[in-house]
Assembly symmetry: C2
Homo-oligomer: 377 residues x 2
């Protein structure tokens, strides 16, 4: 039986934490030719080399030429703000769809350099959509975030919650969803877009060869905990911001989802955008509204909340490190509980996040101890 | 007494209908060196030539060198989407402030080519703000619109009404206000911005030498009526969309404001952005909130609603033309009544819109009959 030709899919920000795991999961399917564009603002090209290595090692002995090709990511080094850089990626064979992951993502920083956030997250997205349209590429999976909900009135949070971001970063995500929705509404026969609202992606690939390696001190809890466990930040005690929240132990609650589960959600989204369904696919035939644009947003979370203290305990178990922490006052902008209602993605995409907290912490710790300096700058 | 050096102010979209009248009003003050950038997308460079002519003729006999300079607009032909084009404008002596008027502005068209609207209205605005910051220019007056209110819950509409635009065009305006507000909040010691929400600007300069000359068939009622009166669109009868609205005569009500009154509002906004006040100024010393960013939005309207039928009657009186019209069904997206509550601009900026409907229609008619082909392409 002849093989289906590979669908070309571009992952923007493909060298980043989430992007590189999406790339790996795509490579492993052997159904896509994966392209990436990244400017190394918060990542290292090494991540993509590792993804290609892992996928190549996983090839069966009788792998075809095409299989071998599918295991190799075509990595462009470029800035999404540059039309020229992006056009280079589209200059080759037609790209079928884009998983648009690249963004600046630090809530605090976003209020310090708002114009950079608007330029990268919104301006570059508008330009990317224009270039896609110019090249007849009309499918997008967009990396959104639970921050679009601001302080949610109902927890677990359903997708129908009004969007009310409380930071510049969050507002860039709401704007991009709005733009995507408008574009899809204007061209229901062309554009399709799925926005995935990530809760707290964490963990690493099981091999220990890929994981999260942010530049500078991690802003997120789990990479911070794993870096502390290998001996970093000794003079900078771990801080817990507030233990008087209306949560079981008083610390903030977040919904951690294993990075591999999250990455697999993108495979489902790509399938949902296409008219073809894999055999045994659990994706609903009509996820898009009959009237109006083919745009839909889904939460990607596990649907289970974990407090800061329970995460510290889980990382202690995984790493054996005895964390000392200091409880200080609440941090401005922190919301007590951000737990997803994951029902819609389960029902319509067949999405599931089976990997448990312990696995997440063990995988993270394997990555961190095998790569104490991350990708070894 | 030596003259104050001229403040350099850039008007984007300066050749357009509103922009050219703002330019003229600025030139007439002899207090600014006015720059313009426009790509002639919906305008003609002739408008700016006329503004310079009118201002030059108005110079007193003893005008200084600087006075003469202040009557001449420095017009750049360029596209705001091009960083290079915009940088050229900022390459000379420092620009003190920007009146950002350029935009695509047709509600209907905005749902046909949403990406162009987002690119020009939002993308180019983000880039403009970046270039301003790079050149130490932190003052902006922004051209917003009553459409940001969508279908307002209360009429006359106060500025405190939640923003809920119902078109792509309207959403581009809300996004720009949001971005401006964020930028001002992040840099309260640098950035200041005033957003002016225009209701229905209409009429022309009293000289009859400047007015509205949109490319193609006018989308707005008044220029359409004046072009019909000079004999255009004979085979295309005037349509009134709906006469069953909950308004006095059943047709939609809008708040028409004379273009010269509107343009003068921008002088007040510029003054309000600066720390200096003209002698006798009615501008409040502290229009910006004590806490947070120096961003403020004001309605610019007359505060009086006029129905479609009353506008037809007013234009009949001014032009003598006996309009035939056809009443057809409501047009999707039309809101029954958009009348400004003008109290805040009056109180804080000392803004007033004294010119009456009759004057507006007479001025428009003078322009149209003196220039049947507009700026004579
Ligand atoms: N990590 C989280 O907790 C989280 C949660 C919700 C949503 N998200 C979203 O997921 C996406 C990926 O997040 P991540 O955690 O992998 O972050 P990351 O910083 O690891 O990845 C983003 C990647 O984009 C690249 N990039 C940034 N600006 C670029 C530009 N102008 N041109 C080209 N590449 C550029 C960076 O170099 C980086 O590799 C982002 O859109 C983020 O907002 C992340
Ligand atoms: N006319 C109205 O009824 C009305 C009402 C509310 C708000 N506004 C706003 O007022 C502003 C001016 O409106 P107007 O009626 O004068 O429209 P206009 O079309 O006459 O003026 C806009 C000007 O911007 C220029 N322009 C457009 N895209 C450009 C680009 N990429 N680079 C450089 N120049 C560009 C056009 O050539 C034109 O001269 C717009 O922001 C509009 O949204 C207008």
């Amino acid at each position: 039986m002849p093989q289906q030709p590979l669908k070309r899919v571009l992952v923007t920000g493909g060298a980043g934490y989430i992007g590189s795991h999406i790339v790996l999961i795509l490579l492993l399917t052997r159904q896509y030719k994966v392209l990436s564009i990244d400017n190394s603002h918060n990542s290292f090209p090494e991540a993509l080399k590792r993804a290609t290595e892992i996928a190549t090692e996983a090839l069966p002995a009788d792998a075809t030429e095409q299989d071998r090709d599918s295991a190799v990511v075509e990595a462009f080094s470029g800035d999404l703000r540059s039309r020229e850089n992006v056009e280079k990626v589209f200059a080759g064979s037609p790209v079928w769809g884009v998983i648009h992951v690249a963004a600046l993502k630090a809530v605090g920083e976003s209020s310090e350099i708002p114009l950079d956030y608007y330029a990268v997250n919104v301006g570059a997205t508008i330009q990317l959509l224009q270039i896609m349209a110019e090249h007849g590429c009309y499918n997008m999976v967009y990396s959104s975030s639970a921050t679009v909900y601001g302080t949610p009135p109902v927890v677990p949070i359903p997708e129908t919650t009004p969007l009310k971001a409380e930071s510049v970063y969050g507002r860039t995500k709401v704007m991009c969803e709005t733009i995507l929705s408008d574009v899809c509404t204007s061209y229901p026969d062309k554009w399709r877009a799925i926005s995935l609202r990530y809760f707290n992606p964490a963990g690493a690939h099981t091999s220990g060869r890929m994981g999260e390696d942010p530049r500078g001190k991690p802003g997120n809890l789990l990479p911070l905990l794993s870096q502390i466990a290998i001996g970093k930040f000794k003079d900078d005690p771990l801080k817990v911001f507030g233990n008087d929240y209306p949560t079981p132990d008083g610390t903030c609650v977040r919904d951690y989802i294993h990075i591999l589960d999250l990455a697999r959600g993108h495979l489902l989204a790509l399938e949902a955008l296409s008219d073809e369904r894999a055999p045994g696919s659990k994706i609903s035939p009509d996820i898009f509204p009959k009237q109006g644009g083919k745009f839909k947003a889904y939460n990607l979370g596990k649907g289970r909340g974990q407090s800061v203290l329970s995460m510290i305990e889980a990382m202690r178990k995984a790493s054996g490190f005895n964390y000392q922490y200091e409880i200080i006052g609440r941090r401005v902008g922190d919301v007590p509980d951000l737990t997803a209602d994951p029902a819609l993605a389960r029902k319509e995409l067949g999405f599931d996040a089976p990997l448990e907290l312990d696995t997440m912490c063990e995988d993270l710790w394997r990555w961190q101890s095998m790569n104490p300096d991350g990708y070894g700058q």
